[in-house]
């Protein structure tokens, strides 16, 4: 590896977050030029804001990376039904802890971003759907909304204009699936968060209460404010084409300095993140694998080579350290940047046990609505759990892979893929360890299989 200067963070979203003198009070936010972009927005036409967001190329930070401006364009404005805006603050993807930084430390940034977005899409009612475990976060948001309302940044006739938009914080009840946007909508409607079938229930057409609805991630909505500040054109120059803006990466696992780091998209590689930004691995350990975008993304093996053609036609040949941290880098390497949750694993990790851990999560969180995910996720959990209890069989690796393949692409929502991809990639890349387990210790007592 060629030694370079440690890449420097570029904090836009988290600009103030860790400033000890900064607080989540509105007075502090206003002192830092807060809500000036909302004022600017109200001088523009709603469509103009949409245009700026489209031009910015900003992609969703919730996991799928869909361009926000495009999503807003899909909104069915002809139906005459009310339009809703929902901020997805369910942040439950294992390995992800970025949205909470914003919510806890700079809630007004989110509120400002949301009010601009609400104005742009002409939503008169907005919601923040926050995960149950963020009870303090919910309280902070409630306070911040009350402050914003008292200053007329939110609620009736915002800034004396004709535009009104109420903002409500809705707390989840502790289910990962509430992060899936249609599950979220069901939950917000007061029902079980069973994701909806698409078609026909695309949120932009038939969303909350069967009305056109936009669901965006916390970080995505904060970006709206910054897009307005510098203009879509200028924003699109941050990062790389198709990978604009900054991203907050959440690094966890076996590094010296786990944490959240905000960088311009593509400003550094995975290797630089691990070794330079996060201080490298623990003493005496070697890198074994990295999950680059939250537990749902496919795992990357440390000694793999990643080759192929980039979108712009250039060939690439990367080791794991060379993968650029943006949207397209991890995707080119066969995984995804997902929610930005980078989970680093060193040579102390037993891959079957790691797999068992992940499978336990998905089996526990599957909503249970559709057959493949419901039954497949629990089956995979049972297999890996058994394998870790000394009863692995030679055929288990193939069986796991087959079960995962029977889930992928056949479910109502993307949870199916989220549950299948880890297994598929673990088997593809660490099959040896799964097979090793089967050889095991022949003296070990075996469970009675029934």
């Amino acid at each position: 590896m060629i030694k370079k200067k440690t890449p420097k963070e570029r904090r836009i979203i988290l600009k103030h977050a860790d400033d000890p003198s900064y607080s989540n009070k509105i007075s502090c936010y206003l002192k830092n030029d807060g809500y000036s972009m909302l004022k600017k927005a109200f001088k523009m036409k709603p469509e103009q804001i949409g245009e700026e967001v489209l031009k910015s190329g900003v992609r969703g930070r919730g996991g799928a990376g869909f361009p926000a401006g495009m999503k807003w364009k899909f909104l069915d404005r002809k139906s005459g039904k009310p339009i809703y805006l929902i901020c997805n603050a369910d942040e439950s993807e294992p390995g992800t802890f970025k949205d909470r930084q914003i919510i806890y430390k700079d809630p007004h940034q989110l509120i400002e971003g949301m009010m601009i977005a609400a104005y742009a899409i002409q939503a008169k009612q907005a919601f923040i759907y926050i995960r149950a475990e963020f009870f303090e976060g919910a309280r902070i948001l409630e306070n911040a909304i009350a402050e914003a309302k008292s200053k007329n940044f939110c609620g009736e006739n915002i800034l004396g204009s004709k535009f009104s938009c109420d903002l409500i914080v809705h707390r989840g009840a502790g289910a990962y699936i509430c992060g899936e946007e249609t599950g979220l909508i069901e939950s917000l409607e007061g029902k079980r968060p069973n994701p909806r079938i698409k078609p026909p229930y695309f949120p932009a057409v038939l969303g909350l209460y069967q009305c056109p609805t936009i669901v965006n991630n916390v970080e995505t909505l904060c970006n709206v404010k910054h897009i307005l500040e510098i203009g879509g054109e200028e924003f699109s120059k941050i990062g790389k084409p198709n990978n604009t803006g900054t991203r907050i990466w959440c690094v966890s696992g076996h590094v010296q300095k786990p944490g959240y780091y905000e960088f311009e998209c593509g400003a550094l590689t995975l290797g630089e993140m691990i070794y330079d930004v996060c201080g490298g691995l623990l003493p005496g350990r070697t890198l074994k694998a990295v999950i680059p975008g939250g537990s749902s993304s496919k795992i990357l093996r440390a000694d793999e080579r990643f080759t192929g053609k980039l979108k712009d036609g250039t060939d690439f040949d990367w080791g794991i350290e060379d993968i650029p941290l943006d949207f397209d880098g991890p995707a080119s390497a066969g995984s995804m940047s997902g929610s930005g949750g980078i989970i680093v694993m060193d040579n102390s990790v037993d891959m079957v046990e790691a797999m068992a851990n992940i499978n336990a999560f998905y089996a526990h969180e599957s909503c249970g609505q559709c057959t493949p995910c419901r039954e497949g996720s629990l089956w995979m959990r049972k297999i890996t759990k058994r394998m870790c209890s000394g009863d692995a069989r030679e055929e288990d690796a193939d069986l796991l892979l087959s079960v995962a393949n029977q889930i992928e692409g056949r479910t109502i929502c993307a949870f199916g893929e989220a549950a299948a991809w880890p297994t598929q990639s673990f088997i593809a890349k660490f099959r040896d360890e799964f097979e090793e387990k089967a050889k095991g210790d022949s003296n070990k007592p075996t469970l009675q299989l029934i």
Binding site: A363, H364, E365, C370, T371, E375, L378, Q406, G409
Partner: protein, 566 residues
């Protein structure tokens, strides 16, 4: 669609171009052309949930250039098909012009095998004792589309085996495949939202919401709907293997709704009544109360023996005695809206030749807004069409009461009704000879000089005309009690004995021929065999001046039209 409005489209189904109605889904479209797309959660009368994933098929649409909108052609000049790389659900995918569908490609087969395997991994091996066995979708599709072997060596989930959901429905949660049909039925058809799932993932369990129970009058439809043996009828549970049952088409006699039903019997004993789909009448549903009616067949108060002067006798002797009693007397006939169209016709004929005065009463109740209508008889309209009555009956026998007061009647032939419960006083009957023909005992039958036991609708064949003026036939499901005859034979024997050229053959086709002859009859030109399984709508406009109690509720419409997925 060429003009965007055409009512049918051409799709390519497994390589064959076929025409199908626009807007229908792929499960329906394939079935119209004889191809089964296996499905569990989809039900034609409920909203689409798309959760079982059994109906996965491969689908593609003709490709167009994104920018120009022009068709993209292949080397043969045919429009290229953009196949979706993942299978799509047939139940949730609607046909469009030029759509291509594969229902048995390797991808589809693999999907089905996968789904079947998943459905079975935590399914108990209850078939030998399961009520559903023999009519179980899980068994059928496992045989047709499953792999035939198991790769599952883990422990199966354990769930409650006998949960009482309500007075009539018992749930075995282990057998539930979580298709949500029962939940959607309660929400969408009955508007009684009591069922739901608790827990997540594979531990999801169907249950009633706290403090609620599945006790609405349509609860047993969930048992029919359930593709597996999870929801069972507490009444039918463990009583009978379904493959022994003989099925006969019939009509529910509970009200003028005339729900189409299937009567399942074995060796002359009825074991259950289930709804028979008729989209014009009852969709796929019927009331719980209607299902209980078969119990009347063997109830204690059933009339089994003919009697004259309280002495048991043969039926022919009783009929003979009727003739002697009636001849030359002032006769009154109290008909019944429970009688079939044909019976009412013969009764009217009898009235004509005996110059009898005719009386009829109705039985009314609350309309439940679903399939129990205000008119609690199956054939009030039959009394109009048959000519027995031209007026709309009230819920008593006022005019009979007047006639009795004026001593206009010597003999009264009563079909099934209880005079004493119809505004007639015991004193008024002094000096009147009573003849009672009916299936069950009542206060009037006890007073009768001549008692003629008749058959229930399960034991004979005929037609009812429902609230919509739909003629619907019911077929004999079981033989009647030994020694009894169908009402039609009794009536025609009476007619024969009182008039020389009466109908000599009491068979339905002769009766229908004769009915069609009466002037102005909406049955003109129709024969009994013309009445199809799903009934025949006739013109009732002749009676549009009558104040029918059903008012606007002539048709059943589901409580909540399926506008939402869940």
């Amino acid at each position: 669609m060429k003009n965007g409005k055409s009512s049918s489209v051409v799709i390519n189904l497994d390589g064959q171009d076929v025409e199908v109605p626009a807007g229908i889904n792929l499960v329906e479209a394939a079935s119209l052309h004889g191809t089964e797309v296996p499905h569990y959660c989809y039900h034609p009368k409920l909203s689409v949930a798309g959760n079982c994933r059994m109906c996965l098929v491969e689908m593609g649409t003709p490709m167009r250039d994104r920018a120009t909108g022009e068709a993209i052609l292949d080397e043969h000049g045919k429009q290229k098909i953009g196949w979706i790389p993942k299978p799509v659900i047939g139940c949730g995918t609607n046909v469009s012009q030029g759509m291509h569908v594969k229902t048995s490609s390797p991808m589809v087969k693999d999907s089905r095998e996968g789904i079947m395997e998943f459905l079975l991994v935590n399914h108990p091996l209850d078939c030998p004792i399961c009520d559903q066995a023999g009519e179980c979708r899980l068994q059928e599709f496992a045989t047709d589309y499953g792999r035939g072997y198991s790769r599952y060596v883990e422990r199966k989930n354990v769930k409650p085996k006998r949960t009482r959901l309500g007075p009539r429905v018992t749930l075995d949660d282990e057998r539930c495949i979580l298709c949500s049909r029962c939940i959607r039925f309660c929400q969408e058809v009955v508007d009684d939202d009591v069922l739901g799932f608790v827990d997540r993932g594979s531990f999801s369990t169907l249950t009633c919401f706290p403090g609620k129970e599945l006790s609405n009058n349509y609860s047993l439809n969930t048992v029919d709907l359930c593709p597996v043996g999870a929801l069972t009828s507490t009444d039918f549970r463990f009583k009978m293997r379904v493959w022994f049952l003989k099925e006969s088409s019939s009509i529910c006699t509970e009200s003028s709704a005339g729900s189409n039903i299937t009567v399942s019997s074995r060796e002359g004993v009825i074991h259950r009544i289930t709804p028979r789909r008729n989209d014009e009448v009852n969709d796929s549903w019927m009331s719980d109360s209607g299902r209980e009616l078969y119990k009347n067949v063997t109830s204690e108060d059933r009339l089994m023996k003919a009697k004259v002067d309280q002495e048991e006798c043969t039926l022919s002797h009783a009929i003979e005695t009727v003739k002697d009693t009636v001849d030359g007397k002032k006769l009154g006939i109290v008909g019944s809206c429970h009688s079939s169209l044909e019976e009412q016709f013969l009764l009217n004929k009898l009235a004509k030749i005996t110059k009898a005065k005719k009386f009829l009463r109705g039985h009314f109740g609350e309309d439940d807004g679903i399939l129990v209508s205000s008119d609690r008889t199956p054939n009030l309209r039959g009394s109009l069409v048959s000519g027995f009555s031209s007026r709309y009956p009230t819920d008593n026998l006022e005019s009979l009461s007047k006639s009795l007061d004026k001593n206009e009647l010597d003999v009264l032939l009563v079909i099934g009704e209880d005079l004493l419960a119809s505004g007639i006083d015991l004193n008024q009957l002094n000096g009147v000879t009573l003849i009672f023909a009916g299936t069950h005992q009542n206060e009037t039958s006890k007073l009768a000089k001549i008692l003629i036991p008749t058959l229930t609708s399960f034991e004979k064949t005929g037609c009812f005309i429902n609230r919509n003026f739909r003629v619907q036939s019911f077929k004999q499901a079981i033989p009647g009690p030994a020694g009894l005859l169908p009402d039609l034979q009794i009536l025609s024997a009476l007619i024969k004995s009182l008039e020389k050229d009466g109908i000599h053959r009491p068979d339905l086709s002769s009766i229908w021929k004769e009915m069609g002859k009466s002037s102005g009859s909406p049955l003109k030109g129709i024969s009994f065999s013309d009445v199809p399984e799903d009934g025949l709508l006739i013109d009732g406009s002749k009676w549009s001046h009558l104040e029918f109690v059903e008012k606007k509720a002539l048709n059943y419409t589901p409580a909540r039209k399926a506008q939402k997925s869940k």
